[in-house]
């Protein structure tokens, strides 16, 4: 209880609250503007989060994470251009409701309510389940952690890549990059090319900004070439949903939130999958299934509740096992690590107040998001009209400033630029950059536990195949890698 009170005190700090509100606002802006993504928002503001030491920076990133997923629905509803991939399903009924039925306020109100409901629902699930899972995972030893890292990496590469083999190659590359620097076990200096810059290892922040922000910016430059930007001049009346609408979508909200939370827990999935599954289930169970696609309220609420519920679900493996589920949670995990919070079961013992502060922060972020959605929606709608010619140079400069301010080093900037260019090209070749990043993040954990396991067993590798939990995770990793290849062969 004392930990919870300390956590409330941490979050209630006016500066921390301000950071959370700022984060939610910026997140909604990033989500609302087509071409900008959740990952880009998080990556760009990551260095700023480090400038705000401790919980303030983490709360700001939590706000961006929640806000950006919701913000994607604004352009999805008004422009039929989803701000984030997670909002694609929202266009199916959101756009017809806004344009055909001429009820943009109703569509935006429903999406705001559903997003907040999904986010709060999944955070409550996180609060209930994470400590229980952390208790179980406390029994894990080095071999289990190694197997868990392999499992996390394998499932992400198999799900998020266009091609499993390229996903594996990306993951291996990430794991290798994590070996650069001084080896934690033997003290040997590895692959530093005799430079002092690499002694401390490859800093993943510049790489992260490069692949998630600069590469995305280059892709946006390509996408907007000779395409006129749709300008939306829409008058929005009332955005608060009516009681009748709330009654109509209530069951859908609960079902979709449960789906989103469950999908969020699975590494490698994400809001896009959750929103489509939630939409599909809503259509299947609805009394008005024939009206889906024509502006059905349940069709707006289901994907939004589903994709926002991913936020809490995705934090379950991050906080309890130290396994990030996607690019966004990898960035969040990186931010926690840089602030001295090593995700994993021990976090719940060593830094319990911080964990509770994250829980409270997530809850508050969703509440603030709803308040902003209801009150500032007209402002966010205007932001969807910001021309790319202004937006993209600003983002370009922010990648430079953010990277430089992280370590006051031009070397970091060069690493960011190279990563960005490589990321842009590799994305075209269907490489998952998330796999590379997660490889870098999990690399230390994988190697240290691999070496530690072999020390435990006096160098006998059979230790990985004689412990049931370890064997289970390794077998699951093998299945997740082989299954997509087999399915493709059959197809």
């Amino acid at each position: 209880m004392a930990d919870v009170i300390t956590a409330i005190g941490m979050v209630a700090d006016p500066f921390h609250l301000l950071c959370l509100v700022f984060g939610v606002g910026v997140g909604i802006m990033f989500g609302a503007m087509p071409g900008l993504s959740v990952n880009m928002g998080l990556a760009l503001l990551l260095p700023l989060a480090f400038a705000f030491k401790g919980m303030a920076g983490i709360l700001m990133l939590l706000g961006i994470y929640c806000g950006a997923i919701y913000g994607g629905s604004i352009s999805a509803i008004l422009l039929k251009t989803p701000g984030t991939p997670a909002s694609v399903a929202t266009t199916l009924d959101g756009y017809p409701m806004a344009v055909k039925l001429r009820q943009p306020g109703r569509a935006l109100g429903l999406s705001t309510t559903a997003s907040a409901f999904g986010g709060i629902f999944s955070t409550i699930c996180l609060i209930i389940s994470a400590p229980l899972l952390a208790k179980i995972s406390l029994q894990f030893s080095k071999p289990e952690y190694f197997a868990l890292a392999v499992f996390g990496l394998s499932i992400i590469t198999s799900v998020s890549s266009g091609n499993v083999i390229k996903g594996i190659m990306g993951g291996i590359l990430g794991l290798f990059l994590a070996t650069v620097g001084i080896d934690a076990m033997s003290g040997a200096v590895r692959f530093t090319a005799d430079t002092t810059y690499l002694l401390g290892g490859v800093s993943f922040i510049p790489i992260l900004i490069g692949v998630f922000a600069l590469a995305q910016m280059l892709q946006s430059v390509e996408d907007c070439w000779q395409k006129s930007q749709i300008r939306q001049h829409v008058s929005i009346d009332n955005v608060l949903p009516t009681v009748a609408d709330l009654k109509r979508v209530f069951t859908t909200l609960i079902r979709s939130s449960a789906i989103g939370t469950f999908i969020g827990c699975i590494p490698g999935t994400g809001g896009d999958i959750a929103s489509f599954v939630a939409y599909d289930q809503a259509k299947r169970w609805s009394k008005h299934s024939a009206n889906f696609g024509n502006g059905e309220p349940e069709g707006v609420a289901a994907p939004e509740a589903g994709n926002n519920a991913v936020s809490g679900g995705a934090f379950i493996p991050v906080l309890t096992l130290g396994i990030p589920g996607d690019g966004a949670t990898a960035i969040m995990m990186g931010a926690l690590m840089v602030q001295g919070l090593q995700p994993g079961p021990l976090l719940f013992i060593d830094k319990a107040p911080d964990v509770y502060a994250i829980f409270i922060g997530l809850l508050l972020a969703n509440i603030i998001m709803a308040c902003m959605g209801y009150s500032l929606i007209r402002l966010f709608v205007k932001l969807t009209n910001v021309p790319n010619a202004i937006l993209l140079p600003v983002i370009l400069l922010m990648t430079f400033v953010g990277t430089y301010s992280y370590g006051n080093s031009m070397n970091d900037v060069y690493v960011m630029v190279v990563s960005g260019i490589l990321g842009y090209v590799l994305n075209k070749l269907k490489f998952s950059m998330s796999a590379v990043i997660i490889g870098i993040i999990l690399g230390g954990m994988a190697e240290q536990n691999f070496v530690g396991s072999l020390i435990m067993s006096d160098g006998n590798p059979s230790i990985f195949f004689t412990r049931p939990i370890c064997l289970f995770f390794l077998a699951a990793a093998a299945v997740s890698l082989i299954a997509p290849l087999m399915m493709k062969k059959k197809a």
């Binding site: 400038a51 590895r190 202004i390 400069l397 430089y404 031009m410 269907k430 020390i455 160098g459």
Partner: protein
């Protein structure tokens, strides 16, 4: 002779596309073959890079102890394993590409379209910006970069370009320079 003709046509197409030619116009000017690369070719290039990189990692890792003793594996064992895994993955990709040859030949990767060239020009500007930061410092370089990028993005409103450049540079100076006390790089001549 035909190779020279092809090469000259390709160069002319590059020139045109960089000059702002539309995709449709480019397609009519040069019939597609250089604008799209098949995924099959890309996969073979990736395989080659993977093989080279994997071998390089294995060779670099071999300079460290590789044996597994009672004290655990040597510092080179894990990276060596990763290098070997990369080689295996690269070979698997080659085999996969050969098995799915037809489908991957049809799958095209856009690497030379007019839209691609916009991104390549932007990469050029970014590299130039890196050099300019070193030469004239961050703030002047940023003030020059913004109008250039805006121009490439088809903005021709000079007032808007100037205002955006001034506004963004001022914002960065106030937030990062003054509030967060980040001293952004200055000119090499002033150091």
């Amino acid at each position: 002779m035909s190779l020279i003709r092809e090469g000259s046509a390709f160069l002319q197409w590059m020139k045109k596309s960089r000059g702002g030619m539309t995709d449709a116009a480019t397609a009519s000017y040069y019939p597609g073959s250089y604008r799209m690369v098949s995924m099959r070719s890309c996969n073979f290039i990736v395989t080659l890079i993977g093989l080279l990189l994997g071998s390089a990692i294995m060779s670099a890792a071999a300079r460290f102890p590789l044996e597994i003793t009672e004290q655990g594996p040597g510092a080179g064992f894990w990276p060596f394993l990763l290098g070997a895994a990369l080689v295996v993955a690269a070979v698997s990709l080659a085999l996969y590409t050969m098995v799915h040859r037809a489908a991957l030949t049809e799958e095209k990767v856009a690497l030379g379209t007019a839209a691609n060239w916009q991104a390549y020009v932007m990469i050029g500007l970014i590299l130039l910006f890196c050099a300019m930061i070193h030469l004239i410092g961050f703030y002047p370089a940023a003030a020059l970069l913004i109008p250039c990028v805006m121009y490439r993005l088809e903005c021709r409103d000079k007032k808007r370009m100037l205002l955006t450049a001034a506004g963004v540079v001022l914002f960065i100076y106030l937030v990062f320079g003054q509030l967060l006390h980040t001293s952004l790089p200055s000119s090499v001549f002033l150091e």
